[in-house]
């Protein structure tokens, strides 16, 4: 009786298995690496309608973050400044700059400048800025060194697991309240380490960040 399957088919199951293993490995690796905000969101650097530089305003001129983001200590939402905030200075400084044409137009018409939003929590997440900055979490922990960015980009993934990393171990980010908006500050500047200082502040303030669903979702 002739063989039904030719000889080369002896290795076929092995080859199919090996091929499938390769594909599954590549898919798993690819999904792990790409299907995360670390890939999809970090580095998002949209072109803004006005070429505003945080590096100039916050670093070179030394403006405090709160000069523009006035309500970050009081409200859940950290406000994008109104056009008047720009005009506080730019009515006198660089008042004819073509790069500020849109600002002047917005101030005259009352129509807001449509800045492109970079950091966007899903609509079912109720993040509260004031709760964080009043409990020793600096801007830099979630936004990176904005004061060195000529064009702002997303620095941290801001995924749920990333939130929980800090909610489970807040001592890695707590700092004294007077240094909240000083993005260059290091615990070593006052002769301590983040671990030591963070633990001390956590105990003193009784910081117990919620790790249950309803801490952030309602």
């Amino acid at each position: 009786m002739a063989n039904i399957f030719p000889k080369w088919t002896n290795q076929l199951p092995l080859k199919v298995l090996a091929g499938a293993a390769l594909v599954v490995t590549a898919l798993t690796g690819g999904i792990t690496y790409y299907f995360t905000p670390k890939y999809t969101n970090v580095g998002y650097q949209p072109v803004q309608p006005v070429p505003f530089s945080h590096a100039i305003h916050a670093d070179q001129l030394g403006l405090d973050c709160r000069y523009c983001h006035s309500y970050v200590e009081k409200a859940a939402h950290s406000n994008v400044p109104s056009t008047q905030t720009c005009m506080n200075c730019h009515s006198q400084i660089k008042q004819n700059s073509p790069r500020l044409a849109l600002v002047r137009e917005s101030y005259k018409s009352g129509k807001p400048i449509e800045w492109v939003r970079i950091h966007k929590a899903p609509d079912y997440v109720y993040f509260n800025h004031s709760a964080h900055v009043n409990r020793g979490v600096s801007c830099v922990s979630c936004h990176g060194k904005i004061n060195e960015m000529a064009v702002v980009y997303q620095d941290q993934p801001q995924s749920m697991s990333w939130c929980l990393d800090c909610h489970r171990a807040p001592e890695n980010h707590l700092r004294p309240l007077q240094y909240i908006t000083n993005l260059n500050w290091k615990p070593e500047d006052i002769g301590t380490t983040q671990k030591q200082l963070g633990q001390e502040l956590k105990d003193r303030w009784g910081v117990k960040p919620p790790v249950t669903c309803n801490g952030c979702h309602r």
Binding site: L22, Y67, H77
Partner: protein
């Protein structure tokens, strides 16, 4: 098998080359893998809304709006009676220390009747002075400088005529007028009423008074104990 492997590696290299590494800068909107309920049709803070003709989601209160629960203090001659009171204005408010846009009280306007009032209508203590210092450093020092000499960073970028707090003209202004300048601005200065709460503004007035005193104080103002701590010449 060989073709499969060739195709496989070409696909992997292709994906890696096109997708790039994590954290790569890109002006393109993030790709949303599971966008379930990420974008809900509710209006969030400072977000646009197509429901309104001007496309602006957050609405302004109608002129003359009074917040719920607030008493509307009576304007007019009645206010003059509180001029000599220990804590003018505050006593009349149903919510001491809080105010709203149309409130005609001294606390909210710095005016008593048609004149500038004098005196700080909130309790002045170390906490208020610290608040004043913090808010002053954020908002005022940018132009007026940390000591109030009108030499903040904007003066180095071509802004002339920034007020020096130690001028007789400003030292002589009543507290209510300083408060009004913070709220509504003056000459080239724009108003900061939208950025600072009523308490913040009075705290800044108190701190500015302290700055002025720091430049104009005399040894005679000090208590004997304080005088003893001065370095002898």
């Amino acid at each position: 098998m060989r073709y499969f492997l060739l195709f496989f590696f070409a696909a992997v290299v292709g994906v890696v080359l096109i997708a790039g590494p994590q954290g790569k800068r890109s002006p393109n909107r993030p790709f949303e893998i599971f966008p379930d309920m990420d974008h809900q049709p509710k209006v969030k803070a400072q977000s646009p809304s197509r429901f309104f003709a001007d496309g602006v989601g957050p609405r302004l209160p109608i002129a003359g709006t009074v917040p719920m629960g607030y008493d509307f203090p009576a304007a007019g001659p009645g206010l003059a009676r509180i001029a000599g009171a220990e804590n003018p204005g505050a006593a009349r408010s149903s919510h001491p220390g809080l105010s709203f846009g149309n409130d005609p009280s001294y606390l909210a306007t710095g005016k008593m009747g048609d004149n500038w009032g004098d005196g700080i209508p909130v309790e002045v203590n170390a906490k208020l002075m610290e608040l004043g210092r913090d808010k002053f450093t954020i908002y005022c020092a940018v132009c007026h400088g940390v000591t109030g000499h009108g030499n903040g960073v904007t003066s180095k970028y071509g802004w002339n005529g920034i007020a020096n707090y130690h001028d007789e003209r400003i030292v002589g202004q009543p507290d209510g007028e300083l408060y009004n300048t913070i709220t509504h601005g003056k000459n080239t200065m724009y108003g900061y009423g939208a950025n600072l709460s009523v308490t913040d503004r009075w705290a800044i007035v108190a701190y500015v008074r302290a700055l002025q005193k720091a430049q104009r104080g005399a040894v005679a103002d000090l208590t004997p104990e304080q005088r003893a701590t001065l370095p002898t010449q």
